[in-house]
Amino acid sequence: MLTKPKDRKELLINGFLWAAAFLAVAILVFILGYIILKGMGHVDLEFLTQKPRKMGSEGGIFPIIIGTVYFVFLTILTAAPLGVGTAIYLNEYTREGKITRIIRFGTELLAGIPSIIFGLFGYAFFVVLLHDYTQGWSLVSGALTATCMILPTLVRASEEALKTVPRSYREGSLALGANKWQTIYKVVLPSALPGILTGIILSIGRAICETAALLLTLGGSLLMPESIFHGARTLSMHLYMVAMETGNMDVAFGTGVVLIAIILLINFTANYAIKKLVARNR
């Protein structure tokens, strides 16, 4: 007889597996849906373009949007060259050996450190020790701290992208008499670019999500940042501070909606870049 024997326990387990997976999706939809529904009504042109009033419990979030943009831009500006450069060095200039192992170990360790520890470090190093250069709590201090945090992600993503470039490209270029740097710059990097870009986009996402480390380094000023040596506040920080300190949940939810929109955009872009990478390497 080749019909399925009915086993209660098996059906139960099967049901549990299905339920778990769909519950995971349901939770996501519920969280996002709830915040969007609650906050949507509060997001309008005024909210996006006005200054906050009364500690942010009223008014808009314009300076915070600008602060976030400055912060992200500055972070990527320092993190991208450092991360990609490290990846190039590890992948192109060294053979697997002691040095690479130590450097890779170091950057991997960074990935496991909690963000609040980065915050403490950023405070002690960038805010206090380098006060004369960073002006204490400032966009510079915050961005440099965030740079330390997203570096592991960037290095790993870039290394993986570099590894997808076929060896035959490098050999073809070298055999034509190109030197190593020319080969990297003109052949390897362009081929790895989609992957590296995906890594950078995901790092932007991480920088936008970060809050704890920035509480200790970015200051949290509600004013429009006049320069990179002034304090600022990112959207995540604003959401937290408004919710916890003023208790005005409308503004918190409104900020949450803007934040979610940005994260969705980033995820969409990153996936698009991955698709492009796959399409091109085919």
Binding site: V25, I35, Y89, G106, G119, L120, I208, T211, A212
Partner: protein, 308 residues
């Protein structure tokens, strides 16, 4: 006959410069780790020395304004919340991973996987906000309407270890799902086929062959998730109440408000005076050591997995 000697050109120069420059970048990336360890310890160790490691680790009260720095309540809070999150998140995440690797059709997986990815990309503060408004509201209802008779009065305002555990469980899901799914997929096909050929059902095969073979990968998923949970700051600040007190009502302590190591640092750095600040760095040292210990477990686990 052309000579094979070096031509001198700019491209030659940039090739020469590239290597040391890139090495410098790699070295910078590496030295950040060293710098972090150095600064945390330099700032935090004196306090540990002054008050004694034992006094601090077992001290039951945290009154920084009076110079009393016992962090046992925060250690307890951190671990309660973490274990609760693992207790909820691991079975849930593992089930989802098994589903994705073994049961889901390509089409279903295409819906679930991006959702998991997105779950990982949502800022902690969003989870915190959700927990603060939705979960804590529900908790408050339970505490005040259903369990009002049994709960002490200070356990009735929603902010609780249980809320923290639930929020954290959601946050560590992506880590558990992604890493265990990879581990499950890495189990050689032949194991599975062998079991199926012997007449095991699919579910039996999963339970008896696939999961045991993927064990070391699943363990590292749990350890990594634990690392994330121990380090989480913002979402917990927003839901657990930040009260540095040891809960002492047995199972009812699930409803107790608590504080975490990370949250204390984040909340108090803003207004702390010099010595208080040093004490917060000392908490950083403790956290750093816990994470380092955990990482060495993780490494030992993966090494054993590789050796097998």
């Amino acid at each position: 006959m052309k000579k094979l000697n070096k031509p001198c050109r700019i491209s030659q120069l940039s090739d020469k410069i590239a290597k040391p420059l890139l090495f410098g970048m790699a070295l910078t990336a590496f030295s950040i780790t060293v710098l972090i360890a150095f600064f945390i310890f330099q700032q935090g160790l004196p306090v540990l020395g002054e008050y004694g490691i034992w006094n601090i680790l077992t001290g039951k009260s945290w009154r920084p304004t009076e110079g009393i720095y016992g962090i046992l309540p925060m250690i307890a809070g951190t671990f309660y919340v973490t274990f609760l999150a693992l207790a909820i998140g691991v079975p849930f995440g593992l089930a989802t991973a098994v589903f994705l690797a073994e049961l889901a059709t390509e089409k279903t997986a295409r819906i679930i996987r991006p959702a998991i990815e997105l779950l990982a990309g949502i800022p902690s503060v969003i989870y915190g906000l959700f927990g603060m408004v939705v979960i804590n509201e529900a908790m408050r209802f339970i505490e005040r309407e259903i369990l009002a008779g049994v709960l002490p009065p200070e356990y009735r305002w929603g902010y609780s270890i249980l809320s923290g555990g639930m929020v954290l469980a959601i946050m560590i899901l992506p880590t558990i799902i992604n890493i265990s799914e990879d581990a499950i997929r890495a189990v050689p096909r032949s194991y599975k086929e062998g079991a199926l050929a012997l007449g095991s059902s699919h579910i039996q095969t999963i339970l008896q062959v696939i999961l045991p073979s993927a064990k070391s990968g699943i363990i590292s998923a749990v350890i990594l998730a634990m690392g994330r949970a121990l380090g989480e700051t913002m979402a917990l600040i927003m839901v657990i109440g930040n009260v540095p007190m040891l809960p002492r009502h047995g199972i009812l302590s699930l409803f107790a408000p608590a504080a975490t190591l990370t949250g204390t640092i984040a909340l108090e750095m803003g207004y702390a005076g010099p010595e208080h600040r040093a004490a917060l760095f000392m908490i950083g040292v403790v956290l750093f050591c816990i994470i380092a210990l955990l990482n060495s477990f993780a490494m030992a686990a993966t090494r054993r997995g590789v050796g097998k």
